[in-house]
């Protein structure tokens, strides 16, 4: 299987008042289409920073990243944004729904940014898939936390589904998707996330603190102080290559 996401020797250093600080040190990984990877680690270990680099939100100080076969480290910001618009979806811990937009309008946003005409119809379909067809015109403040995260899931999958490739090169990045939810709602969201992921055959990279959630992924990367502490496959699944 060809790699949808590949990173080679990533380093990220930032300048501080007390000299340079290394946030990420020599990280490499590779993920095939349709696979899932959990990144875990303590707070401050660099997992969200790594997620941002892999998604093209930031650029490493050293190293290269390929996403959907294209090297994003050779792109400028505009090109990376265009690539994200084509094949990247995001789910955030705090949902990040725009409060001035209704549930449907939030889901429409990625399609609208791509200039698609069928944005409203597609958004309705995705909201139906997450069970919120009756909440189309509600604002985030009128939804519960669980419902808001479901809208965020619909938005993320709507974003990836815009990929014009016949084979889905879409990658979903999720940053602690259950971090703001109670256990019950968190469980439901995870079920939904994996169900949609399977249905859409998307690749999934998620950052989490929860062991149970990490165990549902095919691969696992545990980080400590900006470095990969343990890399391996989740038990019982087809393994993808994860190397540190």
């Amino acid at each position: 299987m060809s790699a949808v996401l590949r990173a080679e020797s990533l380093h990220l250093r930032v300048a501080t008042g007390e000299g340079p600080l290394t946030l990420l040190n020599n990280i490499s990984l590779q993920l095939a289409r349709g696979e899932s990877l959990a990144i875990t680690g303590a707070s401050g270990s660099g997992k969200s920073t790594l997620l941002g680099l892999l998604a093209g939100l930031d650029v490493p100080s050293e190293g290269r990243i390929w996403l959907g076969g294209e090297e994003i480290t050779a792109m400028d910001e505009e090109q990376r944004a265009a690539l994200r618009a084509r094949c990247v979806g995001f789910v955030f811990q705090t949902f990040q729904l725009l409060p001035g937009l209704t549930a449907r309008e939030n889901v429409m946003l990625p399609s609208e940014l791509r200039g698609e005409r069928s944005a409203a119809r597609r958004a309705g379909e995705f909201l139906a898939r997450v069970g919120l067809e009756h909440r189309l015109h509600h604002y985030p403040r009128q939804l519960s936390g669980g419902e808001q995260q479901r809208v965020a899931l619909a938005r993320a999958f709507c974003s990836i589904a815009g990929s014009s490739d016949s084979e889905n090169d879409g990658i979903l990045f999720a940053d602690e998707p259950t971090g703001s939810l109670d256990a019950g709602n968190g469980e439901k969201i995870i079920d939904l996330l994996f169900q949609l992921n399977a249905e859409s055959a998307t690749t999934l990279v998620l950052v989490t603190h929860e062991q149970r959630l990490a165990e549902r992924c095919q691969s696992h990367l545990r980080m400590a102080a900006g470095e990969v502490e343990i890399a391996g496959s989740a038990p019982g699944d087809n393994l993808s290559e994860v190397s540190a």
């Binding site: 941002g52 505009e78 265009a82 994200r84 990040q96 940053d175």
Partner: protein, 821 residues
């Protein structure tokens, strides 16, 4: 389309309400002021033209060339003519010297004549002067000549019937020194009177009105053909006092308009900053969903354009409606109906909307495009103000250009910016002092308040500057208005002299003074006066001397001057160079502007020809004087000894209350050789005009105060979310309502006091520049300003801030926190 869709969604969600409100208010406020100023100024100009009875006048001591009048007819100008002269009237065995004015049928072109057909009838407006064969008199002439309505009056060789009493003629002030009471007759009867002979002292006035361009063209054509006997009079020359009042009022109104723009801009800037901060998370999310910087910029620029369009249209409509309503409410106060508005105020509103948006809303929105998408992962929504220079440069630069364009006056523009610069620099300094305060020794409310100030140190500089701008505008306007109106009132106090007496024989002086005193009438000093011509300067013929030094043609060299002498310097005179004399000195004191036109300096020897005799005196001082003081004033005043041997008459002025008007008849009867000039009606008219100008200024000021309050609200709202959150947390931790309320009051009160103090300094500086450069008034400190500034700041900002944040105290903290999440 996406920007408009998002604009609509943001609007519906309430996100854009504040910035839109600020823009709408900015545009409507400025549009209303511009409309109002435009209409008022034009109404005031129309009214002021009534002082001339025309838009422009050609004054001549001889009849004008018929070709000149033909030139006016060809250009489609309206024309009228008056001929003024003094002549003896007779009725039976009664004689009276009077100021006669013969008017053509089209007189007056501007303004109205008011007359009564009978003594006890009500005054009514007459479209034109008396018809041929008839004459209208000033009411006091009836008892002087023992006349009744319908009687005949002899004017020279013509006998005319008295058919009206003249209550008001618009251009009465044109010929102040016409002697005696007014008689108005028809120009067609003039020839029959045989009073105007070659050599008679007659003043011909040719009145013109019409299209501005045609008038301009005509006078450009006419001007080179005029001789020294002819002059073109416009408002500036005909009524310098009214022209000066109008000029200052216009400057003031433009200042108010400029301040409105400044205030509105600050409000827009604050609102845009808040909007930008709130949208940082939006943009970070949009970027993670694949929107590039260019796309984000296009979206927000598109939104801004849509917003500006909507807000500007709304602002233009609201502004136009407000001014129409204001003008209609005040209709009774205006002497003439303000003409409909021009298109310019709409352009002013439009440009204001665009400039406010570009200068103040664009930089924070443009900054949004640089939002780092990693913020979605870091959950950090601060909006680091990198490249802040764009806002720092673009905002003030756009305001500078806009205010310059609006006011057309670089002095106003620079004065405002000097005040503003002082304010911003001071805000940073004061803020540093507040930040360095020691908290450990303070009580609960003060500790929380100062802690809050320290946490928001950078933003507080902006807030103090914004509050300060609002207060500066309000203070500068209130004090400029007070200075102007007081200055006008001081120039024409209620007891300003309104009658001049001259040609008083020396032997009548004592008796006349006694008569005035017995009637409780206070006069100015009686000045002796002789008439003489300046013939030589330093031994060189005066005209030659002046020409050699490149001097302009000076009228004072072509006519006799009124020369006087006195021991004491009049109160409205001031020595600028040289010394006033003591009793033994000889010499002449010259009015400073005439001295400049004649190239005179201290020590120059002046030779005068007085009744065929010559007298020489050195220039010993140069004086400034106030021609508007309604006191006798002279270009040349001699030391008491110099002119003692020349025959003199005396001149004085006095204030006569309206109820004592008939005293004039008694005076004229008792001293028939004395000449009397009555200025009471003119002064009344000037007072009316100045009163209306003051009203206009006060109305505009009220609009400005609204704009000032808008800034205060925008400033408070700009920081409200953070304050609400902190207050809710303190309450959750057990903080009491009173403690929080007090801390809010202290925090906003301190901000307001600091802003008020700086505003007072800025306003003082602005007023100083304005007084000297624009209003041409002497500089004066305003101690009250320094008290009112901090007080008003503490009160207004303290109250507004506490009221705006009171929900953090009155609502359950959980609700506040949830709403802010």
């Amino acid at each position: 389309m996406l920007p408009l869709k998002l604009l609509f969604r943001d609007w519906r969600g309430g996100e854009l309400a504040l910035i839109a409100t600020a823009l709408v208010l900015a545009v409507s406020c400025v549009t209303a002021i511009a409309h109002f100023t435009d209409r008022l100024t034009r109404a005031m100009h129309i009214q002021s033209q009534t002082f001339l009875a025309a838009e422009r006048v050609l004054r001549s001591s001889e009849p004008a060339d018929p070709a000149w009048l033909e030139g006016a007819r060809e250009r489609g100008l309206q024309r009228a003519q008056t001929v003024s002269f003094a002549s003896m009237l007779s009725a039976g065995d009664q004689f009276q010297f009077a100021a006669i004015k013969a008017v053509s049928g089209s007189y007056p072109l501007v303004g109205q004549l008011e007359m009564r057909p009978a003594e006890n009838a009500r005054s009514r407006v007459a479209d034109s002067g008396p018809p041929p064969g008839q004459v209208w008199l000033e009411p006091r002439l009836l008892p002087l000549l023992n006349l009744e309505m319908g009687d005949n009056l002899q004017v020279g060789d013509a006998e005319l019937t008295v058919t009206g009493l003249l209550d008001h003629e618009p251009d009465r002030s044109d010929n102040l020194f016409s002697m005696g009471a007014r008689v108005m007759m028809n120009l067609e009867d003039l020839a029959a009177t045989n009073t105007v002979q070659p050599g008679s002292r007659v003043r011909y006035r040719y009145l013109f009105a019409g299209d501005d361009a045609a008038l301009e063209d005509y006078f450009q054509w006419l001007q080179p053909q005029l001789t020294e006997h002819q002059r073109v009079i416009d408002l500036q020359e005909g009524q310098p006092r009214v022209a000066a009042a109008l000029g200052r009022a216009e400057s003031f109104l433009y200042l108010a308009g400029s301040l409105a723009v400044l205030l509105a801009s600050v409000a827009v800037g604050l609102a845009a900053r808040r909007y930008s901060l709130r949208h940082t998370s939006y943009v970070a999310v949009m970027k993670s969903l694949g929107a590039g910087r260019g796309k984000v910029l296009r979206i927000y620029l598109g939104q801004l354009a849509g917003l500006v369009l909507l807000a500007t249209v709304a602002g233009l409509l609201i502004g136009s409606l407000v001014q129409a309503q204001a003008v209609s409410l005040m209709a009774d106060f205006f002497p003439v109906e303000p003409p409909p508005s021009h298109w310019r105020p709409l352009l002013v509103g439009l440009v204001t909307g665009i400039a406010c948006a570009l200068g103040f809303a664009l930089p924070p929105l443009a900054r949004l495009a640089r939002t780092d998408p990693m913020q979605t992962l870091r959950r950090d929504w601060s909006n680091p103000d990198r490249r802040e220079w764009l806002g720092l440069v673009l905002g003030p630069a756009s305001m500078l250009l806009l205010i310059w364009w609006l006011s057309g006056d670089i002095a106003i523009t620079l004065a405002l910016f000097a005040g503003m610069a002082l304010l911003v620099g001071g805000a940073a300094l004061v803020n540093q002092l507040l930040v360095r305060g020691h908290l450990s020794t303070l009580g609960g409310s003060w500790r929380i308040a100062l802690g809050s100030l320290q946490r928001r140190a950078a933003f507080n500089t902006l807030l103090i500057a914004a509050f300060g701008t609002g207060l500066l505008a309000m203070l500068a306007l209130v004090f400029a208005r007070t200075t102007l109106v007081e200055e006008w009132r001081m120039q024409l106090p209620d007891n300003a002299p309104n009658h001049f007496l001259f040609n008083i024989a020396p032997h009548d002086v004592d008796e006349l003074e006694t008569m005035l005193a017995e009637n409780n009438i206070t006069s100015t000093e009686l000045y002796p006066m002789v008439r003489g011509r300046l013939v030589a300067i330093n031994g060189v013929p005066a005209k030659e001397y002046n020409k050699e030094r490149g001097g302009d043609r000076v009228g004072a060299l072509n006519r006799e001057l009124n020369l006087s002498w006195t021991e004491n310097l009049a109160p409205d005179n001031r020595i600028l160079e040289g010394q006033w004399w003591d009793e033994t000195d000889e010499g002449v004191s010259v009015e400073v502007e005439l001295a400049a036109r004649l190239n005179l300096a201290l020590g120059d020897q002046l030779r005068f020809s007085i009744g065929g005799l010559e007298v020489e005196a050195p220039v010993t001082s140069l004086r400034s004087l106030d021609w508007n003081s309604m006191r006798p004033n002279f270009f040349m005043i001699f030391a008491p000894g110099t002119l003692r041997d020349f025959p003199a008459t005396y001149i004085t002025s006095f204030h006569l209350p309206a109820e004592k008007k008939l005293f004039v008849n008694e005076l004229v009867r008792q001293y028939p050789s004395v000449s009397l000039i009555e200025l009471d009606k003119i002064i009344e008219r000037i007072r009316d005009t100045i009163g209306q100008v003051s009203l206009a200024i006060e109305s505009v000021m009220a609009l400005m105060l609204v704009a000032g309050v808008l800034v205060l609200i925008a400033g408070v709202r700009a920081s409200i979310a953070e304050r609400l959150q902190e207050a809710a947390i303190i309450r959750t931790l057990g903080g009491r309502r009173r403690l929080l309320l007090n801390s809010l009051l202290v925090e906003f009160g301190l901000l307001g006091t600091a802003a008020g103090l700086l505003a007072a300094a800025g306003a003082e500086l602005t007023l100083a520049v304005l007084s000297q450069r624009v209003f041409e008034l002497p500089f004066a400190w305003h101690p009250l300003l320094w008290l009112l500034g901090p007080l008003a700041g503490a009160l207004l900002v303290g109250t507004a801030g506490t009221l705006a944040c009171r929900s953090s105290v009155s609502q359950p903290p959980l609700k506040v926190l949830r709403e802010l999440a």
